[in-house]
């Protein structure tokens, strides 16, 4: 007798599987064919195709809670529901945190993915996986998406192609950077926060007594020394490229002006700040960070990361809604309301300037937080299921992809891996995820992992 037969003669498995198969959508080949007709890769500036030519990654550093932002569980037990309520959005039946009222009004432009899943619950691995699309391995250091994009997309100006606001330093030993790509593709950290009154990108102005001609001579001298020197160059020295980049940036007043927020009208600056009555320079910095990101993509920078800190809070959750943990200055530092304001301002502003279609906006984080609130009223790390939001740049807004289970613990429907995300992001930026890069050791590596799948419903 067959082990798994029921008495009615059919295997029980059939019951389970019915409806479990997902229908396949439009083939990717078709998608790329369409893209190629409108854009010759790599894309060129001024191309009026619908494809994104820039990406703003709003990174909520430390792991933002899916349950308290984009995937609330109003019907769950209180220890899972948490202290915040939920509100309806422009999408019928879709609710998000009560502290995201402006975002709720923009949901027709935003796509939520509520079923992202990763195996890594520690920051370093989680960060590496989400930012590179590859599971970290000691065998090879993968480049961040920002570096890959900087490597492949053309940048019309002299601004760096991959910029981090205010910085993106390695966390818990995580190596986030250019991986096996040249160091010139590594993110340029401003090292200064546009939300702070002391904001200034350092070392852009000539040192006293120096001018263009002297810097030019210095550049020629060091290039000559490298050329004549004892070291046989293994490849084109990337040190030269960094030097060239620095030289071009310093000598371009127009490029440097991109970093100057003072050029923005007061009302624009206020649009991005949580509490206009509060001192602009002291308001929650994510708004001004996003404003600077907009200025940069407007000038053709392909990849900007807004690295907003403070989300790794294991203690009292309620502080997310009123102030930045550890910051006692004013209620205008509220993390979630600040994010709400920033998302709304950024997406609205990009749309007003008619560049939302070519700017991909991503809201991502290390992982979610534990559904059950811990003994200190906070939530701990939870990579099993969390949310990511996307807008602009060819994203079909107004939809929710995947879902979590009743308590937000696990994926209930349509698991999405960080690899799938990277595959989708590259596709939106007009880069074929199966395209191969070559390591210095001569190994071909796909942009996105072999087993990753593009979330086709996301493509407009």
């Amino acid at each position: 007798m067959s082990l798994f037969q029921r008495c009615d003669g059919i295997t029980r498995r059939n019951f389970v599987r019915v409806g479990g198969l997902s229908a396949l959508g439009m083939g990717l080949g078709q998608f790329f064919h369409r893209r190629r007709l409108t854009a010759s890769a790599p894309s060129t500036h001024g191309d009026k195709s619908t494809q994104a030519r820039s990406c703003i990654l709003i990174w909520l550093d430390g792991g933002a809670s899916h349950l308290d932002l984009f995937d609330p569980k109003p019907n769950a037990p209180s220890e899972v529901r948490g202290p915040f309520g939920s509100i309806a959005t422009r999408l019928t039946g879709i609710r998000i945190s009560e502290h995201l009222p402006q975002t709720s009004n923009l949901m027709d432009k935003i796509a939520l993915i509520r079923s992202v899943t990763s195996p890594f619950g520690v920051h370093n691995f989680a960060l590496q996986y989400l930012m590179t699309g590859y599971k970290p391995t000691p065998a090879l250091e993968y480049p961040s998406m920002g570096s890959t994009v900087a490597h492949l997309l053309q940048n019309p100006g002299v601004l760096p192609s991959n910029i981090a606001i205010p910085d993106l330093s390695s966390r818990d030993g995580a190596t986030i950077g250019n991986g096996f790509l040249p160091s010139s593709t590594k993110h340029f950290s401003l090292g200064s926060d546009p939300g702070k009154s002391t904001y200034k990108v350092r070392d852009l102005d000539f040192y006293q007594g120096l001018d263009v001609s002297r810097l030019d001579r210095r550049r020629k001298m060091v290039n000559a020394m490298n050329r004549f020197g004892d070291l046989k160059s293994q490849a084109e020295s990337s040190g030269d490229r960094d030097l060239e980049q620095a030289y071009r940036l310093i000598t371009s007043d127009r490029a440097k002006a991109a970093f100057n927020l003072e050029e923005e009208p007061q009302q624009v600056r206020e649009r991005y700040s949580l509490d206009p009555r509060a001192n602009l320079q002291d308001s929650n910095n994510i708004g001004q960070q996003c404003l600077l990101a907009r200025r940069l993509v407007e000038r053709g920078v392909p990849f900007v990361t807004v690295n907003n800190t403070g989300w790794d809070n294991h203690l009292n959750l309620a502080t997310y809604a009123n102030r930045n943990p550890g910051d006692s200055r004013s209620a205008s530092h509220a993390l979630i309301p600040g994010l709400d304001k920033a998302i709304a301002a950024l997406i609205g502003d990009l749309a007003d300037r008619d560049i939302l279609d070519e700017t991909l906006v991503l809201i991502m984080t290390d992982f979610g937080r534990t559904p059950k609130i811990n003994s200190t009223g906070g939530r701990d790390h939870w990579p099993n299921c969390f949310s990511v939001a996307m807008a602009g740049g060819g994203v079909q807004g107004g939809q929710v992809i995947g879902s979590s289970d009743a308590l937000g613990e696990f994926v209930a429907d349509r698991p999405i891996t960080p690899g799938d995300l990277s595959s989708t992001i590259y596709t939106l930026l007009g880069l074929d995820p199966s395209r191969e890069l070559t390591t210095p050791q001569g190994r071909p590596i796909r942009l996105a992992p072999e087993d990753s799948k593009v979330i086709e419903d996301l493509l407009a």
Partner: protein, 325 residues
């Protein structure tokens, strides 16, 4: 037996005498006996009923001779309970990960009267509310109240975030539940409103036992995987005291208003003095896990059951209280 409190000096003189009578449920065709998961004395006190994957079995008491078996419609059985009038027996269980429910039998005839199969996973515990209503607690995180007269669901209680292991009804219309989410919850029995969530347990809670003592504030004990037995006044949300055992308690029952016995993962029973939360007695009972313990309503002897279909009778002698009779 009275519920008179023992003087502290005499309390340690409790003597537990065991009769080494053992019963084993029928050995199945594979030569194996499934574990007994719950026990109850029949209303007349002359037999004891036990449930397992082999169905419902009735043994004579105190001889523990098998009298009969009754087939139940679920694969796994986890709980049983007699109605207060002793006329009906409710059996709870299910087909794991598929469904769960309760089947009602007439007693002593053992005739199936009705069954409900509304849970999405096994029913782990049943509580009677009078003789016409029952509440079932499921692995599917829900409790359902049925009216047996109309054969209808009258209430669903949602709020536990994990499977529920235990449910007890308190005299004044409150219901206490506990389960895998390590919480003890207090509900308004009628409206289904969740009143309180008590979260001092750090691991899943296995059992609840209501203290027989009459007082304005009802008291319950809970036993959990964190190896503690905790004593509560649940209606005001107060944890009174707790004791940590050497082995995880799987089931608990009160002997009187001063002493409580627990059957544990190591097959032993432990007797806890509520007053000073000391373990006053540890006795081996069965081999393996002791899932169920119950006390005979009249003679105060105990039945413990668990792994491989074992049941043991342990006679309990409380010399001081008996002399007060």
């Amino acid at each position: 037996m009275t519920h008179q409190r023992l003087p502290a000096s005499r309390r340690l003189r409790i003597v537990l005498l065991s009769t080494w009578a053992f019963a084993l449920t029928a050995v199945n065709s594979w030569g194996q006996s499934p574990p007994i998961t719950d026990l109850a004395f029949s209303p007349e006190g002359t037999s004891i009923v036990a449930c397992s994957q082999d169905g419902l079995q009735v043994f004579s008491w105190p001889a523990l001779e098998k009298q009969r078996s009754i087939t139940v419609s679920f694969r796994n059985l986890h709980c049983l309970a007699f109605s207060n009038d002793g006329q009906r027996l409710a059996l709870g269980g299910g087909n794991p990960s598929e469904n769960g429910g309760v089947e009602i039998f007439s007693w002593p005839q053992g005739k199936s009267l009705m069954s409900f199969l509304d849970h999405e996973d096994s029913v782990m515990e049943i509580a009677w509310s009078g003789d016409q209503k029952i509440v079932t607690a499921g692995r599917d995180r829900r409790l359902i109240k049925y009216d047996l007269e109309t054969e209808e669901r009258v209430q669903t209680y949602e709020g536990h975030s994990r499977g529920i292991n235990a449910v007890s009804l308190l005299p004044q219309g409150a219901m206490v539940t506990a389960g895998h989410d390590a919480s003890v919850r207090v509900w308004d029995d009628d409206s289904g409103t969740l009143l309180k969530t008590l979260s001092q347990h750090t691991q899943p809670v296995n059992a609840i036992a209501v203290c027989p003592a009459e007082s304005a504030l009802p008291m319950v004990a809970t036993a959990a995987k964190d190896r503690t037995v905790r004593f509560w006044q649940p209606t005001i949300g107060r944890l009174m005291r707790y004791v940590r055992l050497e082995s995880e308690p799987l089931d608990i029952t009160w002997l009187n208003d001063s002493f409580l016995v627990a059957s544990c993962v190591d097959g032993r029973l432990r007797c806890v003095d509520f007053e000073n939360v000391q373990v006053v007695e540890i006795r081996p009972a069965i081999e393996g896990w002791a899932y169920a313990i119950t006390v005979h309503p009249e003679d105060g002897s105990l039945a413990i059951a668990g792994s491989r279909g074992q049941i043991r009778r342990i006679t309990l002698t409380l010399p001081t209280t008996q002399s007060n009779d």
